[in-house]
Symmetry: C2
Subunit: 270 residues, 2 copies
């Protein structure tokens, strides 16, 4: 039987709130199994960009990463946030190691080409390869790894990569060696039947139910699967198709319960 490995992604809303982050880190540190945390960046990069007069441009909610912004996110994600989280974990006797995808050649990516509609995302990287061997070697010495969503192209260029994607790619890469569960922590309790009712969590979602829900409306006559959830869910099903045991989506406050299967939406193949 394969050893258990949790891949856990936290977003900016937790990073930005010191109290939430501390309590999340405590429950994360308490997990006994091997685990990898992937963190996003939060508002810190945006506010620092403002202080440094680096104009921030977004297309469809995605940051355009120009040269100055790449430096900024490398500093903030791989430097400040990553090392603060690692130091905090160390204080909880959780011997963590912080990384970017350049370290140990763990995440190789290529610069995203111009989109068909002519959008240049700048120094944004799409992942080509996860060095599962390197990550496995690190996990034999350290139970806990912390990844900043910065990758590299193998030619010396750092790249800014979406943290959800990094989490997914690492989970898929590691599922060959480990019984892997990918947990997306966000600000809702899971996939909701009624988007404003946090108690309407769908506990288990397989692809048959998902297809059904995609065609369903909730009590208010709105699509059950809100538009904002579509990329997350299509990502989740793709992850499962690629061999990852389970994907759980839920609230960062409920990590322990999610691990036990008592909270969040548990996404499975069938």
């Amino acid at each position: 039987m394969k050893e258990k490995l949790y891949i856990i992604k936290i977003g900016g809303n937790i990073i930005d709130d010191e109290e939430k982050l501390h309590s999340f880190i405590e429950s994360f540190a308490a997990l006994k199994e091997k685990k990898i945390l992937i963190h996003g960046g939060g508002k810190l990069a945006t506010s620092l960009a403002k202080d440094l007069n680096i104009p921030q441009q977004q297309v469809d909610g995605r940051r355009i990463t120009d040269e100055a912004t790449l430096k900024l996110v490398t500093m903030v994600y791989a430097g400040l946030i990553n090392k603060k989280i690692v130091a905090h974990l160390q204080s909880l006797q959780c011997n963590a190691l912080g990384l970017s995808g350049a370290d140990g050649n763990t995440l190789l990516a290529h610069k995203r080409p111009l989109t068909s509609s002519g959008i240049d995302y700048g120094w944004v990287g799409d992942v080509d390869a996860v060095s599962a061997d390197a990550i496995k070697n690190l996990l034999t010495s350290f139970d806990t790894l912390v990844f900043a969503p910065i990758t590299h192209d193998g030619k010396g260029q750092l790249l800014n990569t979406n943290a959800d994607t990094v989490a997914k790619e690492i989970a898929i890469g590691m599922s060959f060696f480990y019984d892997t569960t990918l947990i997306y922590c966000f600000e809702k309790n899971g996939v909701l039947m009624e988007k404003d009712d946090d108690d309407s969590v769908i506990p288990v979602l397989d692809s048959a139910l998902y297809q059904e829900l995609l065609r369903s409306k909730n009590k208010k006559g709105e699509p059950v699967i809100a538009e904002g959830m579509l990329p997350k869910l299509s990502n989740a099903f793709a992850t499962i198709e690629a061999g990852v045991g389970a994907v759980v989506i839920g609230h960062a406050d409920q990590l322990e319960k999610m691990v036990e299967g008592g909270a969040g939406t548990f996404i499975k193949k069938r």
Copy 2:
């Protein structure tokens, strides 16, 4: 026989000069043996502090690390500089892993107390322990490690630590497992007999000769060992006394020759 390990420290003057840094990284990557690079920060942190209106205070040439400055150096040293160096090494097929002292609990430090003269250095750390086991574990998977001079206190606090000291402490810590050579790269060809004559390098310096030179004057009637070299040399002899095989001080341009013993000042016990 113990395996060979090089601990190599580069200072800000190399970091600040893109061309020098590139050529240094190339000769560093070409070293076949296991190796650890420790880098300082250079002027980038200072110029960013200016852009962000963070006043920088120095006492005896040492930066006072207030809260804002600690964030800044964590971003610049452990984020931008560390990851740029690692990505560059990867492009040269040198599979490096970048670290701070919080990662893997590799460098444990304590906040420097008020000095006897009442100076508060702020969030500056003096190293208490090097986890040689953790570093050795990493060196079994990766031949090359790159350390930023950021440490932690085990209670969740990051600390800013002098890079020369980090290099020395790692060299001492690793000398139990490896045949360790510590190389300090700086902007001179070595310890000079005549401080303005870069050809007057003292090739070998043992403690007997050092004691003699401390009492000697050069052709101009000045002390041979310039005041600025005293901390570096007393550090070097302390390192050797603590069990490190050799310390070499020389020019960053001459790394390959230094490794072969053909450049720099080779410092040995006797």
